[in-house]
Symmetry: C2
Subunit: 602 residues, 2 copies
């Protein structure tokens, strides 16, 4: 059978597609300049499929024959291509190894359930045979959420690992037009569920960056946030009820707009990242397809001015569906992604630039603002919100900027692959903080990262970091950082985890959260105790232990793993650790490397 | 020391206050008529304080001396008055027994912590000495949330029970004006916390019916909803972070506007009703004190028309801060609570009535609509919302009706005491359902209850039931029923639990939730499995077992108690049970009675 990889096994997105650099003539030279890249040739392209070596499959035959007796042949795979497709998510670490053809651990069997009953059957069988189950939606997780990590040794050796690919459970089962809810199978990819809803005039309104390649179940399992979360909420706000199959039974929550019948079980499950079981379907709050989608661009003289404007919109209750405020650095990136204007347009642009420079916009920050919904409602809200933005010195760039942003919004992840070809380390980190702490978190993060860039061992002594605010709330907002520097040869993982540790420590030390919407996986798990307190962690673990007593559900995720803690893989016990001496930091990142290398195939 | 009871020990609210019947000359005769009350004398007044007999205190001396060694004398009480004040909540069953002077079980020690550290100390000591701890806020719970229920027998006999009265922890600790959050101690009563916030220009905006006598901690523990929840959300939506002291450690959640760091621990704690520990303080989302408070009354020709109007306001996103739609029966009650007009006003009223009758308002339903906030914002929203209401045949009653409602809004609970003096059983039940099920739940509930009234054994064959919608959501709304009938002499508890069973079964069978904001206590606990599924219940129990392994925290609440289930106290295993034969129902309610009577003091 011919395998069609839904995404590149070594990178982001559609295997047929690369980052559209051709219409951005200024971009690459700007990047090379910023990162001080000397060698402008592709020096680190991915190996060919043939060069990838997969670890030998570890099949539990009793389990496999039980599964085979009930499911159809086209639901069960043990081929290397399928195993490769499900071996990694899309974190920098995942792609770094995949591109080299190093598969540290791969699932042994890939199963595609068609129904809720299939999932119940598979889970029962997995529980009986002590087989691990990793729910797999689109596989876009960038914190190690879908990677096989089980290290449990049994009398029969290591446990067999199943990747449960949910993508064939992709139907909108029913729409309740009165209640504005839809029952949707968890494996539906963004475009697939939106098209089914759209046909009937409805929309879920959830558009995370990964929209094209991620699923409803994945969004729920990771507490995802879409671009228009200001209007529609985070995924947990849209959730009405769900079904989750655990090794010890199925949780079914009640379809009700609100309740006070004990703690909210939906919120036990949302964010559980497959460690409790598999979400098979959910009743979601939906909206009429918006009559109006009005996106506009503005320039602010500073990040601070933009934040003031957002805060006043929130205070006055004129809240756009989307606000995305880019800092000066990310705005520069955006400017360099535009095609240069020609002739008269270029002249105008030059004059505008001159005017802006003369009036205090030396470090201009772009804001993209979106209004969606009913015609009358968006008219009123946009009118009032824009008044407030202008009060805080927003310079209107018109609707074309909104359109440009919208066109490229799902392309940014492809840029990472492009840069990795040139041996660049590139990653993102996001957090959220209350307004009184937000700018401090922003400045401290930029400062700490620039300091680290200056100390870089990669021969450049420099790097890029930029940030945008997206997802705003009454009490605060999300900060989303993108950073890049040349890879440090032969120390790529020390480098990567070094930055991850630095930025995460900086978040937590300054009162921000561990993650706003990328979730925990294994990469963030060492910080969980700092985030939720030791007793809080005990409560999470209690639910895990009772629903999944054999730890067969996505082991090694969310909850810190003892061994990792002991080895100090990330070297974190408390936020204060960020101030550890440089030698100690070096020693710790050395440990990271050793530990990771032990798992690699030489 | 002179004891000042904050609330009547035998009824609702301020001991100095009774229901203001004097300005409602039509009300009582209307009630007597509706309920077919023959005997219009007070035949069932509460006994005097002297006639109340308290069970002997069961003091754990080791615990008491440990506590006494650290806390001040005015923090620890064992007096009968204090024990009486903390023996019951305010459910009909609670008041029925209290009024007769029957105290089935009372706490043995009452402790008033002053600080978070006090609570940690008390909890540690209670854990060491196996003493039960019941957090007590205002004690207004009407589903048995604060009643001592522990039946655990130890080698030293029954366990000593502490009521932990939080009311001295009543400070707004700090306000973060930028983030619009306040850190508030959990024991602050509604008026106390609002006055501290108001002084600085802020408001929490949470006004449940019990506002005057309930606390922040109680609201959080029961997932309370305030009258303006449409604008400000339920209490869980306002919560940013909190501290909860458990017998095995303190949970501290992170102050962040949003997160994806695992399941949301705040939501493990909100709704836990003291069974996991004691909430000591919380960071809450606050709002600027609203510039405008604009309340208005309307009449609709039917409940259905009112629902249509609400749905269109939500669909078009012009949502008032409060919508309260009363059905025809509750509207009649409201009409009969008004002072009759005189002279010219009476003439006008008569003409209006004539006009309404002629144009299809035979069964008029009152809607109270409120708009709160910024001047410009409320102007726009009210204008658009009122347009929609009028489209659905809303007849404007002007602002005076809003004012009348606002004046009496906290008085309604006093009416229950008034009616109980006349041997009337009166109770409330509330639920929520998605829009597509809402009207069916409404009609089925009215129908079932009227059928039961007709079969009443109290000699009247009749009763009252009315309903209002409050708390609306994108996907549905809350239904709040009030019902009354003459007490069935010597079978008051069979009667009460019979109605509770009937109405709760009707809710669950027709797809509504067990409770929207009254919580579970012990009265609703037998339905928890139906509400959250067996596996869901296992998850809740897991958290309880690990944080409170000795079950010292408010035992017997939220989670169904085995023995009660076995005895069939409420006779519920599944919603189908509502269709059980009448004889079986009788047998079961007989068991209720026997079981309850066993605990009474004869």
């Amino acid at each position: 059978m011919e395998i069609h990889f839904m995404m590149k096994w070594w990178g982001w997105g559609d295997p047929q597609k690369t980052f559209p650099m051709e219409d951005k003539p200024n971009l690459w030279s700007w990047v090379c300049n910023i990162l001080a890249l000397q060698d402008k040739n592709k020096i680190s392209e991915p190996v060919s499929r043939e060069q990838v070596i997969l670890p030998e499959a570890n099949i539990n035959q009793e389990f496999l024959s039980e599964i085979t007796s009930k499911l159809e042949a086209n639901q069960i795979y043990t081929s290397d291509d399928e195993r490769l497709e499900h071996a990694y998510g899309k974190s920098y670490a995942d792609l770094f190894y995949a591109r080299k053809g190093i598969i540290k651990k791969a699932p042994d069997i890939i199963i595609y359930p068609h129904t809720h009953d299939d999932v119940e059957f598979i889970m029962k069988s997995a529980q009986a045979h002590n087989v691990c189950v990793i729910p797999f939606g689109g596989g876009t997780n960038i914190v190690g959420g879908v990677d096989p990590r089980d290290q449990t040794m049994t009398a029969k050796g290591m446990r067999c690992i199943v990747s449960l690919d949910m993508k064939q459970m992709d139907k909108v089962i029913s729409i309740d037009t009165q209640s504005q809810t839809a029952i949707i199978q968890a494996g539906a990819l963004g475009p697939i569920l939106e098209s089914q809803l759209c046909e009937k005039g409805w929309s879920l309104g959830h558009y995370p960056d990964s929209f094209e390649f991620s699923t409803l179940g994945g969004w729920l399992a990771t507490r995802s946030a879409g671009m228009q979360s200001d209007a529609y909420g985070k995924i947990e706000d849209m959730l009405v009820s769900l079904k989750m199959v655990t090794p010890t039974g199925t949780v079914i929550t009640r379809t009700t707009p609100a309740s006070s019948a004990g703690p909210d079980l939906n919120r036990f499950i949302v964010g559980s990242e497959g460690i409790l079981g598999v979400i098979t379907e959910a009743t979601m709050r939906i909206h009429k397809s918006p009559e109006v989608k009005d996106y506009r661009g503005f320039l602010f003289p500073s990040f601070e001015k933009g934040v003031e404007a957002i805060k006043e919109c929130i205070d006055k209750n004129w809240i756009p569906s989307m606000i995305r405020l880019q800092d000066e650095f990310e705005s520069q990136l955006a400017f360099n992604m535009k095609s240069p204007k020609k002739g008269f347009e270029a002249l105008i642009q030059k004059q505008v630039k001159k005017f802006l420079l003369a009036t205090g916009y030396q470090k201009p920050c772009i804001m993209i603002v979106g209004f969606e919904g009913d015609l009358k409602n968006t008219q009123v809200i946009s009118q009032e919100a824009v008044k407030i933005l202008k009060k805080h010195r927003a310079f209107s760039l018109g609707k074309s900027v909104g359109k440009t942003w919208s066109k490229d919004k799902f392309n940014i992840p492809y840029l990472r692959d492009y840069m990795m070809d040139y041996a660049v380390m590139v990653d993102v980190a996001e957090t959220a903080a209350v307004w009184s702490k937000l700018l401090n978190v922003y400045h401290k993060t930029i400062e700490e990262m620039k300091k680290r860039f200056a100390e870089e061992d990669n021969g450049t002594g420099t790097g890029y970091i930029g940030c945008h605010i997206s997802h705003t709330y009454h009490t605060g907002a999300c900060l989303y950082f993108t950073y890049a520097t040349k890879q440090n040869p032969n120390k790529e993982m020390e480098q990567y985890y070094g930055y991850k540790k630095l930025i995460t420590d900086t978040f937590l030390k300054n009162g921000a959260t561990l993650t706003h919407h990328h979730a925990v996986g294994y990469e963030h798990s060492p910080w969980m105790e700092t985030e939720v307190s030791a007793t809080g962690l005990k409560a999470l673990k209690a639910v895990k232990d009772v629903l999944d007593p054999k730890n067969i559900c996505n082991p090694g995720k969310v909850l810190p793993v003892e061994e990792e803690m002991r080895l100090g893989v990330f070297g974190i016990d408390a936020p204060e650790a960020v101030h550890q001496s440089k030698s100690r930091a070096k020693k710790r990142s050395g440990q990271v490397s050793r530990n990771l290398n032990e798992n690699t195939i030489s």
